[in-house]
């Protein structure tokens, strides 16, 4: 190995290196800082992410394989990394005040988020089952700890434990699938796997391996039947972490799913049937169970299951439009879901939890601006134009119908009509009920900035989707 090759590898993975080095530096600095210097950590972490974003921007537009073809820096990865950066920065902005209120201010919180970010970045760039595994575990281990960060609260502890146990099992299943792949084909590279699937689709060992890998990945995106952890973990985790988990790790999981299953060779096989079944059940379960939730975090957990189902329809469609539709969906979902979570987070103040849907009654009277923003996010999540959520769904449907899956498209829209019910139920509580106990939203400048950015994304992409659509279409791999 020559120096120039090494240099090229380092360059290709520069963003990941920036994040990891930055996280390590903050870990040390965090121990040296006197108490009450939380803002330094927030801005330091944001600076690290921005530096990584800058590095990513410098790399954008070229395709660079690295580390003996286990890793690739391409436009597809850049798109997903942008989603991760967005989600992470917004989570940092939301965390400052929330961490103060919950008493969980410590440098580890920010450092773990940064490590989780680096894990997701590796997932987006990985083109080998082993490097996927490394990224997946890095991300997962950090989120396990973050879930249990409310040390004195039982719900949080229970959620963390549940998440570790189930997550460990899922990873084990995934790893078992990887070992089977290696046993059958002698390679762990994705294109090798795709070639094997295309030539010997009937091989029972390989089929078992694919099923195991699907199971492991479905767990990460919270797809049925591997969704059981989602409501408990979302409810128990600190709300900022819930917001983060509902967007970024989910997007990372989809990045891997797209890479594994939408290789042109795999698309030719019948693997889509498995995904189609998962998509339908996921969306159905998420939409119907969300109807009866009283806790807004649990409701959003089921809503995120339903959205994973809808995005999964894009995976079923496949092809360039299918891939682009999933990518655009995840980007838009990041904006609107972080937006709605931001409103949930800022309701937490003093003794007020803001977790029961009833806590929001009459919000339109006491805080009309906030209520209007919630209305925007909720209608976007329900997929009503002119919000971005509509365009996300629309493009997935175009991709589906283009492939001739009209029946699936009909199922998808009918289920999203069901889902619309629980979103507009919250709107009803906000606008059509008399105010009860007065909430005192914790509106800090950084929270306001988050709201502004997410609202701009939610309405902006809805009204002017052309640029974002083109970005997603240009970032499709293997183009």
């Amino acid at each position: 190995m020559t120096g120039s090759v090494l240099l090229q590898w380092v360059l290709a993975s520069l963003p990941e290196i920036v994040v990891v080095v930055g996280a390590c530096a903050l870990l040390i600095l965090g121990q040296l800082l006197p108490k009450g210097q939380g803002y330094f950590l927030v801005w330091g972490s944001i600076a690290v992410v921005l530096a990584a974003a800058l590095a990513t921007l410098l790399l954008a537009g070229q395709t660079q394989p690295a580390y003996m073809d286990m890793f690739i820096a391409d436009r597809f990865a850049v798109f997903f990394k942008a989603v991760f950066y967005l989600a992470t920065v917004l989570t940092f902005l939301l965390s400052r005040r929330y961490a103060e209120i919950e008493g969980i201010e410590s440098s580890e919180y920010y450092v773990l988020l940064l490590f989780a970010l680096s894990g997701m970045m590796i997932m987006a760039s990985a083109v080998d089952l082993l490097s996927i595994y490394v990224g997946l575990e890095l991300m997962a281990l950090c989120t396990y700890v973050l879930t249990g960060f409310l040390r004195s609260e039982r719900r949080s502890n229970e959620a963390a434990l549940k998440y570790v146990v189930l997550g460990g099992a899922a990873t084990g299943v995934f790893l078992y699938g990887v070992s089977l792949v290696y046993g059958v084909t002698g390679t762990t590279r994705l294109d090798g796997l795709a070639a094997a699937v295309a030539t010997s689709a009937g091989d029972p060992g390989l089929l078992l391996a694919v099923v195991f890998i699907v199971a492991g990945l479905a767990f990460k995106v919270g797809a049925v039947p591997f969704h059981m952890w989602v409501p408990d973990v979302y409810e128990g985790a600190p709300t900022t972490i819930t917001a983060f988990m509902s967007v970024a790790p989910k997007a990372a999981g989809f990045a891997v799913i797209l890479r594994v299953f939408l290789n042109p060779l795999v698309t030719a096989s019948n693997a889509w049937i498995i995904i189609a079944v998962i998509a339908v059940v996921t969306m159905a379960l998420g939409s119907f169970v969300a109807l009866v939730q009283d806790n807004i975090k649990r409701l959003l957990a089921y809503s995120s299951i339903a959205h994973a189902g809808f995005a999964m329809f894009g995976v079923v469609a496949g092809g360039a439009d299918g891939i682009a539709s999933v990518m655009l969906y995840l980007l838009i979902y990041a904006f609107m879901n972080l937006g709605i979570f931001a409103t949930v987070i800022l309701m937490r103040n003093g003794d007020f939890s803001g977790e029961a849907i009833d806590d929001y009654r009459g919000l339109a009277k006491s805080h009309p601006g906030l209520a209007l923003l919630m209305l925007l996010y909720l209608f976007s999540l329900a997929g009503i134009p002119p919000t971005a959520g509509f365009f996300a769904k629309f493009y997935v449907l175009v991709a589906l119908v283009e492939r001739g899956f009209v029946g699936l498209a009909v199922i998808a829209v009918l289920l999203s009509a069901v889902a619309a019910y629980f979103y507009i139920r919250i709107v009803m509580v906000i606008y059509m009920r008399e105010p009860g106990e007065q909430a005192n939203p914790a509106l800090t400048p950084s929270v306001r900035a988050t709201l502004a950015l997410t609202a701009a994304g939610t309405i902006g992409i809805g009204l002017f989707p052309a640029w974002f659509l083109k970005l997603a279409q240009d970032s499709v791999f293997g183009g």
């Binding site: 009503i384 009209v406 009509a417 059509m432």
Partner: protein, 489 residues
Amino acid sequence: MALLSLIVFTPAVGALVLAFIRNEQTVRWTALGFTALDFVLAVMMLAGFDATTHAMQFTEARPWVPALGITYALGVDGISVLFVFLTALLGWICVLASWTAIESKVKEFMISLLVMQSLMLGVFCALDLFLFYVFWEAMLIPMYIIIGVWGGEGRVYAAFKFFLYTLAGSLLFLVGVIVLYLQGGQTFDIIALSNQDIPFSVQSWLFLAFLVAFAVKVPMVPVHTWLPDAHVQAPTAGSIILAAVLLKMGAYGFLRFSLPMLPEASVYYSTAMLMLSALAIVYGGLLALAQDDLKKLVAYSSISHMGFVTLGIFTLNLRGLEGGILQMFNHGVTTGALFLFVGLIYERTHTRSIGAYGGLMKLAPVYTSFLALFALSSMALPGTNSFVGELLVLSGGFAANPAITAIAVLGALLGAAYLLGMYRKVALGPVRLPGGAKVRDVNARELIAILPLAVLVFWVGLYPKPFLGIIDASVKHLLVRVHGEGSGQ
């Protein structure tokens, strides 16, 4: 000059301006100012409209999402121009109708009303299917809020029902739109799609998908059950908008999409559609006959009257279609006015029960005279607008299918029964008022809201030529498209 964009977005700009105004009275006047300005613009459009051609006029087109062939395209032809005018007219009438009826959150109400106004105008002007869908679906948001926040006691249930019915219908329409987009050469251009030849099997499915969306909006029996709830619970302005404009959109959808884009399927399903229309006419009329609630009565009469509209459209001949379209306009004027009248009396006495009233004629002679006028118009008395419309529809209907049309005539009789019955109980006989309430006659503000509608009743009733002239060329073009060249009589 982008006149249509101006017309569509003037109310939206008004809504934006309102957000910065605190004083309630200023809010009312500003809302009135913007809707009146919009009406002036609509009159300018009507004045500049060339009725001799079926082509789209005042067209604008700008690329919006080029990768998917979506453009921001607006334009009006003889069919849509009438409804742009009607919507703009009712805009300021609705503001006047809510002047004192809305007591809480006036600003929020006016903003919702103006946003709604923009979206409705957008629906009638859109020449791009995607743009149309965006306007069409986005209307759910302000309407849900209007019914749910400012409505009566059962408003939440009514708002939900309205939202979910319409959403479920429109989502199937969305899938249909996407199929049409891919079948018709990856374009959302309504004009281009209206000239595509799509295989009959596809047309047939698309027709059914479109039917679900449009039938819910019209509404046709059996998907009409959201309407009475929504109408009864909505505030007066909401009811006027619902009856006068929203219901028209279903029928407009048939005219703009089903007929020109799916001509063979339209012919194939026309008899079934005629039967459903006749069913709506008779069933709606019978239900209206049994109501004691004034608003419910008008709401069910709407179902019956919209049956005449769909009956006219699916006769697929010149007289029927022109009658159907004219009847859409008439229904907007007459039923809009009737809801306004129910709102006026409800504002004074806070009850809508017909049985609670009596002898109103002696207390409020102006009110009852105008009520009589609009009730007579609603039952299609000769000399009023609906007579012309219904006559055309029925004569078209007898040419298309005499048996079904004969049943529909029964509906006209029912109309006379429930409207005259209502008028007799409310206006005539000994004076009776609920709970010792006092009633004052209409004031100047209310009279200003009523007068243009009364003028239109007589204008269309006595001299319908200008109105029929506007739609004539477009309808003939539509018929050529449906039946093929040389058959347009």
